[in-house]
Amino acid sequence: MSTTKKYSTVASALRSFVALVAVLSLVVCVVGPTPEARALTVDKTTAQPNQSDGNQIIGGVPTRITWEATVGDDEEIKEIHLVFPAGTTLGEGANTKATVLDGLARLETPQENTITDEGTVIDFAEPVASGLLIRVEIFYVALPAESGHYTLTGRYVDGEGTERELEESPAIAVISVTVVESITQWLDEQPWVEWWNSQLFLRVFFNPQLIVASVPTLFQGWLRSLGLVLVGFPLAIPIGLAVSFLRMARFRIVRFFASIYVNVIRGTPLFLQIYIAFFGLPFLGVSIDSYLLGILVLAMNSSAYLAEIFRAGIQSIHKGQFEASASLGMNAVQTMFSVILPQTVRRVIPTATSEFILLYKDTSLLAAVGVMEQMMFAKSMVASSGNMTPYIVAAGYYLLVTLPLTKIIGSFEKKLAAAEGHSSEPPDKKKKRKRLQKTEDAPSDSFAPPHDNFRRGNGLMGPKI
């Protein structure tokens, strides 16, 4: 605990120091005298991105730092001392290598280098002549784990043996190491992971490091896919219900148009519908947010399926229910909402939940038109990693929703069968009793096949909506 505290104090002190230096150098730049020609001008300082699925530099994880400087006119350089920012650590096999370049030509430069976690020293056997570029590469060095901008400082020794301060080098932006990165790093060092990844199949589909990296990234996609279906599906319910009413309407023409809606949507691929909506609407000058449009297309598609589910559900309700309601003087709307729909809901929950699952899986089709959802996230991770593992993780996320729902459907169906089979017993008394099996028109418990006698015939009992 105390070490962490001390560490963060040091880090924050360092950060304010860096800030101070930055401000001071700015002041120097603006108001100070123009700096005299230097013996060594720092050209660049960079670090190689070491993020597993990105292009940033993370602290605490070994990287390669490249530092370049040009030797000034009439100067020679014998030694360079680079000082690492506090908190820098060395990875295994850390070393420093300097290359001297004359234009594009690489010059033979014997050198003797040392490296510690404080810094590195490059000692050239022969002084490096003026006008040459010195490129120092420091391998397997880990910048501080705390995020921030870090600079290399130091000194150099010129041809005359004078030691001079190095000018401030450009800062390297470092982001702090995340849980994922530290786990990934830990995995990198495990022998079993090494063995695992030496198996082609396991490496390509079940790469442990990529699993760890995919889980948090794809979580974003998972949320977005869930969002699509959690908004789209509830939207589809009232539309589907309305269409199912129209499908059973008294007027032929209304039924006709409702059936066209249902049959066209169910008879064409959702993929095609998505294309028509996403590429067709812009032609009409309509521009809708693609996520919203995705929801609308999904809702419309699902409403056609739900309409049929609801219709079958309503028509599976025994006609005696309509007659009993009618005989009590209830009108069509009262009958529908107080008697028929409450019974229908319980019957359609399993099929409607299956439809929910289908729709949830179908959100993936929206990847084709660039809606950010699970597939898009997985695809881009696969593209950047060249590995199938993110797809496997995406599959896991889909199953996370679909498997429990499938299980729920199963148990609900069982419960429903028990309830509709009249097998439940009175709250207080257990008593054997018979069902009305002798009745020729005993209420049907079966969901299918739906009979539609309330639409045909006298038209008195059917929903008149």
Partner: protein, 251 residues
């Protein structure tokens, strides 16, 4: 003979020359029937003779093809009549009970009171419990239909119809779906109802009930009323061969 309740002169249901076709099948071939306030009429006849169809025409569950039906001062076959208003006053009990399976016994009795008669929740509940008590089911008011025996379900169905304060009750083979030991309870309720002065049209195969409770027995065959009269006359001295045939088979 039932002299325990009063039959008035006022007609509650009047059927004139009623015809009903199902497609090309003529099921009712000109039926005339008048039922007066307080009267208990039982309709007998072989299967397929059109008894149910006749009963269902009275509250327009079936739409008559021809003829007229009057309920009190309303011609219900007039297309301008709001049939739901008529149905409020015409109770019907079905062979298959047709309770609402998602509602408890009490809620079954309350629903139409609330929706159709717009009674307050408290009033509907009070009346529901009253009616359930009348059919002997006070202790079953919170049960779901699936937890009740057929006989109990049918009694709830009767309570449900009675809660609407009907002017006439139609019974279509109310006991045919029941196990023999459960029939009695339902018949007792119907008998009490008759004694209480309810106007009733009862399609039944229960000859004992028809004979004891009814003021009039109507025998139907092949879509017409073959003969009608006091139950003991029809049962003991049938004038028509078809009636004799039918009764011979049953009794």
């Amino acid at each position: 003979m039932s002299d325990h309740h009063e039959v008035t002169d006022k007609a509650v249901v009047r059927i004139q020359n009623l015809h009903k076709y199902f497609g090309s099948l003529e099921v009712l071939k000109g039926v005339d029937l008048e039922v007066r306030r307080g009267e208990v009429v039982t309709i007998l006849g072989p299967s397929g003779s059109g008894k149910s169809t006749l009963l269902r025409c009275i509250n327009l569950l079936e739409k008559p093809t021809g003829g007229e039906i009057w309920f009190e001062d309303t011609c219900i076959t007039d297309p301008n009549t709001n049939i739901n208003e008529v149905r409020e006053h015409v109770g019907m009990v079905f062979q298959s009970f047709n309770l609402f399976p998602h509602l408890s016994a009490k809620k079954n009795v309350m629903l139409a009171q609330r929706k159709v008669l717009k009674r307050s929740n408290e009033e509907a509940e009070r009346i529901a419990l009253e009616q359930l008590a009348k059919v002997g089911l006070s202790d079953r008011s919170e049960y779901m239909p699936s937890q009740l025996s057929g006989g109990q379900q049918q009694r709830v169905a009767i309570a449900r119809a009675l809660a609407m304060d009907p002017h006439v009750m139609l019974f279509d083979e109310a006991t045919s779906a029941l196990d023999p030991e459960l029939v009695r309870g339902v018949l007792d309720v119907m008998r009490e109802l008759a004694e209480g002065g309810m106007t009733m049209i009862v399609v039944t195969h229960e000859m004992g009930f028809a004979r004891d409770v009814a003021d009039r027995a109507v025998f139907m065959d092949e879509g017409i009323i073959v003969e009608q009269g006091l139950p003991e006359e029809v049962f003991d001295n049938p004038r028509h061969a078809r009636t004799r045939d039918f009764l011979g088979h049953i009794i």
